[in-house]
């Protein structure tokens, strides 16, 4: 009589593999990976950002409007304004002659623009121009891709181990940041647009008049925030700033934290050759004027230019804390976002709550498990022990499966395991009840076992496929923790099918082979 058949070998291999995969979670010596813990168990932050990529389209249109105006000027063509209105461009031309010239420029230099209407109104000719739909789509997509890249760079520099950053849908970015200690700081850094510009202060404009809404054409009102280190009070200082951007952050090569003579942190920036050249020129042309350093529409400082600055180096001061200066340097180095982002979903779990969740989950798993083991032993006696062995192996298989597939264990995932413990004995119960029935009809132990397994197999399959379908649908539609639940539920079903139909049967075969008696403890 063969004691070890192919089937037994298969069972052993599966169990050993599960143990090998599971071990590293409990010992640190094994070369394999541990089970991944979800953010709800290890603490961390889950963010969904929406890229306002319509703003990228608008920016592109405004750039185009500027270029058209430049081109018109170069051709000495008169116009009464080219500007963006919503997501199209509107141009006003005074006469037929300029209209012809305008049309020529558009068809030659801006062939991607589509003229949607040209109407004569009060003697002037109005044009409406649009970007083709697929081009707008491309700009939007590029804005999202670029935002993802920028945010990834910032997160990498911020130092988060194993972040998960991915695009979700058309304009959403999903971020999973495990083990974040200071969620607000991370949020600030991620959400910063980091649009750095150098613009001149409008020295002729009066602040008081500007505050009353009396702004010169080509200037705007921006504020500088100053925090008193002693009292913590913040004051806002208004500045009238010329709209023309002399230099922006796109020409930066480096940004790092430095200290001034009072050991206050400041951010030193360095331009590339082109940037350095421009910086050299504008500082040379504007000596004794005030140059404002503006980041995301906030004035950081507006020093008076004392001398021409060659070499392309500058500093941004603005009574920073150390962390603020560090984060600003990171944001500048990683580049600006092509469009602003808003946080539309946030879930943060503190590490202590995560640890509590694991502890409580494990306690309920243990208590539930022990109660089931006791119940099965009392109800089915020795056969109950086989079911119990199957149950324990089931849990090992789920754990091994989680580690092998590098799936993530979440709190609902632990609930899924607990639920599977309750349901895992089901397959054994179906089989045992069937065996009992067969025994009542007077079959021998071995015949009853065979008939029981054979008749129960299809029923068990049917019953479990439906739950498996629910698990697959959940996996497809669920996010984060729910996906974790679907994974453990699905693994649990597959594991319990294996343990009930293959493992239990092998054990019964072994037991019945040894015994010649027809008695069966069930």
């Amino acid at each position: 009589m063969k004691l070890l058949t192919l089937k037994h070998g298969l069972v052993l291999i599966v169990i050993l593999a599960a143990i090998v995969w599971l071990l590293p979670t409990f010992t640190n010596t094994w070369p394999h990976k541990k089970i991944n813990l979800g953010l709800d168990l290890q603490g961390g932050m889950h963010l969904v950002l929406e890229v306002q990529n319509i703003k990228a389209v608008e920016a592109e249109l405004e750039r185009t409007a500027d270029e058209i105006k430049k081109e018109l000027r170069r051709n000495n063509t008169l116009h009464q304004g080219v500007s963006r209105q919503g997501n199209m461009l509107v141009a006003q031309l005074p006469d037929q002659e300029s209209k012809a010239a305008f049309e020529q420029i558009i068809s030659k230099e801006f062939s991607n623009l589509k003229v949607t209407s040209a109407a004569v109104q009060d003697g002037s000719i109005g044009f409406q121009l649009k970007l083709p739909e697929d081009e707008m789509d491309m700009i939007r997509k590029m804005a999202t891709d670029q935002a993802l890249e920028t945010i990834r760079n910032r997160i990498d520099e911020f130092g988060v181990s194993e972040p998960d950053i991915r695009i979700q849908g058309k304009n959403r970015i999903l971020l999973q940041l495990p083990g974040i200690n200071d969620p607000d700081r991370a949020k600030d850094l991620i959400g910063k647009t980091a649009q750095l510009t150098f613009q001149l202060v409008d020295e002729d404009a009066g602040i008081d008049a500007a505050l009353k809404g009396n702004l010169p054409v080509g200037s705007m009102l921006l504020y500088e925030k100053r925090t008193d280190p002693a009292t913590g009070n913040t004051t806002e200082i208004p500045h009238v700033i010329k709209k023309q951007v002399l230099l922006d952050g796109s020409l930066l090569v480096n940004a790092r934290v430095e200290f001034d003579q009072f050991q206050q942190p400041q951010v030193g920036i360095e331009f590339n050759r082109k940037g350095a050249h421009i910086f050299d020129r504008i500082t040379g042309e504007n000596i004794k004027k005030r140059l404002a350093i503006i980041l995301d529409n906030t004035v950081y400082s507006a020093p008076v230019i004392q001398d021409r600055i060659a070499g392309g180096k500058a500093v941004i001061t603005g009574n920073f804390t150390m962390n603020e200066a560090k984060d600003l340097a990171i944001a500048l180095r990683a580049g600006s976002l092509p469009a602003p982002v808003t946080i539309i979903e946030e879930r943060t779990v503190g590490p202590t709550l995560g640890a509590d969740s694991i502890r409580m989950g494990m306690i309920s798993m243990l208590v539930g498990g022990v109660l089931i083991l006791l119940f099965m032993t009392i109800y089915y006696r020795k056969s109950g022990l086989i079911a119990n062995l199957a149950l324990i192996l089931n849990i090992i298989l789920i754990g091994g499966g989680l580690a092998a597939f590098q799936a993530t264990l979440t709190l609902p995932g632990i609930a899924g395991i607990i639920l599977t413990i309750g349901m895992a004995v089901d397959a054994n119960v179906i089989i045992f009840e069937r065996i009992r029935e067969e025994l009542r009809w007077g079959k021998t132990a071995s015949a009853a076992v065979h008939a029981g397994f054979d008749r129960a197999a299809l029923t068990i399959l049917d019953a479990n496929v439906t739950t498996l379908i629910a698990a697959i649908v959940l996996f497809q539609f669920g996010t984060g923790p729910i996906k974790g639940f679907a994974v453990t539920l699905g693994l649990g079903i597959v594991a319990s099918l294996f343990t009930a139909l293959v493992l239990s049967r092998s054990i019964f075969d072994l037991v019945l082979q040894k015994k010649t008696t027809s008695s069966l403890s069930i």
Partner: protein
């Protein structure tokens, strides 16, 4: 050991009228609950909003927390004692999404520290924007719809070997959804429409097992949602997961009984004996049905009492679902299959 005697023969189907009244009452209570509470009590996952869970290291009253937050102008503010025993934990909920400015958690923490003099520990913070809430709601309903779709295909295919017919039903279900989505009706109406269409088709195409199983599923899900509503419990993403699992579990139970009916019906030509045969099938599988329900309930109760607050509602939904699901496979699903089978002889 045996809980159920092997020669047991309870007349379950004889009590189907009582069961119908009982189910009717439960459904009525669910409808009343839904009407009174104006639909399910959506948590922030679906309604949008924010919650902050805070913990203190000493005794703080709920009133103190509420008073110190008064200055923040939070819309629909609610403060709830959270966690069991003396853990000094509170759950603060608001309809604000906090996207306007700096961190809501920070603001809440600062306000509480100012108001009570004790700095709280921020244990958890969740914010869901309104658009995301709508998306999640839509996804959840789609998940329920698709699992019903796939499960019905499987049942009618597997039990009546009518894969083509079940495919037709599935097609009709999807067509109904497509048609209703074109005229832009809300998701719940869409799903209801799809279910009505498929039930009508099951009846017309005589897919009695699928019909019985599906009515039982709708019964279970509806009553579970109703009970949640009556107790005014929060409807969140994990609850949707629980509902889908209940669908799977309830079906699991139903299928075991159906399987036995099919096995017993083989070679049986005399249709007048059907009621007795159905009853016998329920009795033969009764000890398995009860045993599995008991073991599942044992672990769910352990989870309910020991698993912590966050998993509490999920465990509650599962417990309700398992009890209702066990009841419905005996008293709802089987009588419907019997009714449909008898109709077939008469008609």
């Amino acid at each position: 050991m045996q809980l159920i005697k092997s020669d047991i023969n309870i007349d379950f189907l004889g009590k189907r009228k009582i069961a119908m009244v009982f189910s009717g009452l439960l459904i009525l209570a669910s409808i009343i609950g839904l009407v009174i509470h104006k639909g399910p009590n959506y948590g922030i996952d679906f309604a949008g909003g924010a919650l902050v869970q805070v913990k203190f290291n000493q005794d703080v009253s709920i009133g103190q927390v509420r008073d110190s937050l008064a200055g923040l102008n939070l819309k629909d503010l609610s403060v709830q004692d959270f966690g069991e025993g003396d853990t000094h934990e509170f759950l603060i909920r608001t309809a604000n999404t906090g996207s306007e400015g700096t961190g809501l958690a920070q603001a809440v923490s600062a306000a509480i520290e100012k108001g009570t003099g004790i700095a709280p520990e921020i244990r958890r913070m969740e914010m869901v924007g309104p658009q995301v809430g709508d998306d999640l709601k839509k996804q959840a309903l789609l998940a329920i719809f698709y699992s019903l779709l796939f499960i019905t295909i499987y049942i009618s295919g597997r039990f009546e070997l009518k894969w083509i017919l079940s495919g037709v039903t599935a097609g009709a279900m999807m067509a109904a959804v497509y048609f209703l989505s074109v005229i832009n009706v809300s998701m719940p109406i869409l799903i209801t429409g799809a279910l009505v269409v498929s039930l009508a088709l099951f009846w017309r195409l005589r897919l009695k097992y699928a019909m019985g199983a599906m009515i039982a599923l709708i019964h279970d899900v509806f009553i579970t949602v109703g009970i949640f509503c009556i107790f005014d419990m929060d409807f969140s993403l994990p609850i949707i997961a629980a509902l889908l699992t209940i669908i799977g579990y309830s079906l699991n139970d139903t299928i075991i009984v159906f399987d036995r009916i099919r096995e017993n019906i083989k070679g049986e030509s005399d249709k007048t004996g059907l009621p007795a045969l159905f009853n016998q099938s329920i009795n033969q599988t009764l000890s398995r049905t009860l045993l599995t329900s008991v073991t599942t309930l044992i672990v769910l109760l352990a989870l309910f009492f020991l698993g912590g607050e966050i998993i509490h509602n999920f465990a509650f939904a599962m417990i309700v679902g398992v009890v209702i699901g066990t009841y419905s496979s005996i008293f709802v699903a089987t009588p419907i299959v019997l009714f449909a089978s008898l109709k077939r002889i008469n008609g």
